[in-house]
Amino acid sequence: MKQLKIIFTVLVVMLASTFSVQANTLKYAFRIDANSLDPYALAETFTLAFQGLFYEPLIGRGKTLEVVPALATEWKPISEDTWRFKLRPNVKFHDGSPFTADDVIFSLERAKKDGSDVEYVVADIAAINKIDDLTIDIVTKGPYPILPQRLTTWYIMSKTWAEENGAVDPSSVKLEVRNFATTNANGTGPFMIKSRQQDVSTVLVPNPNWWGEVEHNLTEIIFTPIKSDATRVAALLSGEVDMIYPVPIQDVDRVNKANGLKVLQGPEMRIIFLHMDSSRDELLESNIKGANPLKDVRVRRAIYQAIDVDAIRDKVMRGASAPAGIMVAPGVVGYDESLNQRFPYDPTNSKSLLAESGYADGFELGMDCPNDRYVNDEKICIAIVGFLARVGIKVNLLAQTRSKFFEKIQSRNTSFALMGWSPLTYDAQSPLQAVMSTPNKAEGIGTYNVGGYSNAGIDVLTKAVAVEVDLVKRQQLISAAMLVHKNDFGHIPLHVQALAWGVRDNVDLVQRADDSFAPRWVVIK
């Protein structure tokens, strides 16, 4: 009997696999899987983009990253610290329950709880007051001009669903219980999860009751994580998937030359830059004792001008990068084109600057670099070691895996390090606060300023940016801070890396600069 059952199952599966082939299934692959379906578990680009298939924020991002209405239809400030939001009527969660103001208030509470990684989004929200079922007032702790932009990565969850399934708290390793929201999802988004096996595949189908205008023609989406670069490219070449990202730089030509495939490349919002320890009195990893050469702005400038970023672009990045002059990339709010011109590559000037500051014979410097985090990160570092050797600075490179790398630099145990930054808020305030401001643990500022760079001017300007309501004035403040930083060589911006997606020719999609892929704009021809 049991055997019969198994044989029957086999037959059914085989039949199903012959007939279920449909024209409009989108199969796509990324490097990793989302670690959790819980939208508050990890604020990271891919995870948020993936969850964006089935969860939605109050305010979303459009095809060019512009702010567009999502679960809120309109919003306006009604006083200095209060915004009024009209919620979209007749929206239903995937389980059929209606979306109301209570869900928004519940989501706020959940996002503020221990273990939530999106706390930063709602940190400045003091309260949400329910006016009626579809109207809310968001009260902020002070003037908060960029509230709409900030809310775009905060997904709304269903109150009743979370309460019924014991998912009221964000999933966290601290609470040693299995959280329903880690492996299940109930959003309002354009797609619904049909089945999911962690790290294997996720099958999604369109949400028939979605409120928006459907722009895709998909009947099914199959997402597969494929970790190995070579295998991911092979899967695209062999036609097993329709879209992969990222395409490794060395395979871009191969994919472009293949029949029916193309690589879409564009600038990403991620800036790659160098940290320098300018706070210690003596460098940790150097032969100079009793002094810190990097405290001298002339030495920092010498390092800057000794590095040829154009050569890095042409040789290391194979053209897939755009040299950068400031700490934000084009597309980020606060980017200022007039500041993006770099100081020229000038090793002769570097040498004379070093001589001027008393290091005519150069010095030794330890450098930290990840080898599996950014595009060709280790190769960039090796190139920098070579450039600096030419002006007499001997760099001892330590390139290691990301866990080890971040452990080392975050304990401030570094003199010179390569890092990247792509603001999740799409706003310059993020690098200003986390990377360029003087580290202050109590205020949660300068978390990633691992060189301890400190400039009172930038600190003051950054605080002013945070509360400036007038957008023109705000841009002026940001530009001013960026200019101070640029001329003080606080960090050395190198380039904006390019993103590369491999796509079948019959698939139309929208590539956004934040490297998040949204199947809701995919049309299969």
Partner: protein, 330 residues
């Protein structure tokens, strides 16, 4: 017999404890998991709160004893990466790896033994030379190169086999199997061959060497002199006597296949334990790594025990030696 097993179990417990100690001292060097657990916007205060609540700042021996204490109660904790209980995830992933390992081992035995016998019986024959050359490639090419070459040939160029994944799987209780569907079989061919190739060549060369040895012994000559047919001599007498070392090696290699399918699973995106552990290492997911290592140690211990017991079954001398040593001296 019973005493023997109990003795072995005692040794096993010591081995497991040693594995736990060694692996824990290694965890000091895997890096900081907290940075992987939170996004870039999480500030330092919250990070140190997480570090504290996970006990990452405790001295390593405190972490070790709390781990052993929990492990004895069957609790391996929650994965830092997936925020789900470690045991649940391992159970979920185990079928994929075991299926792949078994298919690879069966492939290695079914192909390796006949090839070994053939090359021993007909040395210098052209087919034997081909077998030996192929085995040389199998032993000298690194696994990932073989895997990538197979993908290039059979997926990209010919389009016969899938380059990644497990194909359709069927759930039988908690076990998921890919062996009941055509796509499942298609998906397992390349990873199994890649994984089993080294073992196959090893077994083939071992069988060949042992067989050549045995064929020179007196009892084989006597058997031939008695006029027994070749088939009986070769397979009844010679092959049977070559199998003892083959069983040992095959058994130990099965452990190796299960434990070290990491590369093959990464190349073929096979959703098994190998993938799980490589991701755990990159993430510095300590609970996952600890549970995995203990489990692998357990598998090795069990396999060794089974191999020892098989000796008893295959080689009568083992039993005699045991009896003599206990009874002979008055």
């Amino acid at each position: 017999m019973l005493v023997f097993i109990i003795q072995r179990l005692g040794q096993a417990a010591i081995v497991m404890l040693a594995v736990a100690v060694v692996s824990f001292s290694l965890f000091n060097f895997v890096g900081d998991p907290v940075n992987n657990m939170v996004g870039i916007e999480t500030n330092e205060k919250e990070r140190s709160e997480i570090r504290e609540s996970l006990g990452l700042d405790d001295p390593i021996y405190v972490q070790f004893f709390s781990f052993v204490g929990n492990a004895l109660r069957g609790q391996f904790g929650v994965s830092y990466r997936l925020t789900r209980p470690v045991t649940e995830i391992i159970v979920e992933r185990m079928p994929a790896t075991l299926e792949l390992s078994l298919v690879a081992a069966v492939f290695a035995l079914l192909v390796g033994i006949p090839m070994g016998v053939y090359t021993a019986l007909y040395p210098g024959n052209w087919l034997s030379n081909i077998f030996l050359t192929v085995s040389l490639i199998g032993i000298s090419l690194p696994t990932f190169v073989i895997g990538i070459l197979l993908i290039l040939l059979f997926s990209v160029n010919l389009g016969w086999l899938p380059s990644f994944g497990r194909g359709e799987t069927v759930s039988i209780g908690w076990w998921t199997s890919g062996l009941f569907s055509i796509s499942g079989w298609k998906a397992i061919i390349m990873p199994a061959v890649t994984l089993g190739l080294f073992q196959m060549t090893l077994i083939m060369r071992l069988v060949r060497a042992e067989m050549l040895e045995v064929l020179r012994t007196d009892y084989i000559r006597f058997a031939r002199a008695r006029g027994l047919p070749n088939r009986v001599v070769n397979f009844g007498h010679a092959l049977k006597n070559t199998l003892v070392p083959v069983i040992t090696i095959a058994g130990l290699q099965l452990g190796n296949i299960i434990a070290f399918s990491i590369i093959v699973e990464t190349v073929f995106q096979w959703p098994g334990l190998g993938q799980l552990i490589i991701q755990a290492i990159q993430f510095a997911d300590v609970p996952m790594m600890a549970a995995y290592l203990v489990m692998i140690a357990l598998i090795f211990v069990i396999i060794n025990l089974v191999v020892d017991l098989l000796y008893y079954a295959v080689d009568p001398r083992m039993r005699i030696i045991k009896v003599e040593s206990s009874d002979a001296d008055p």
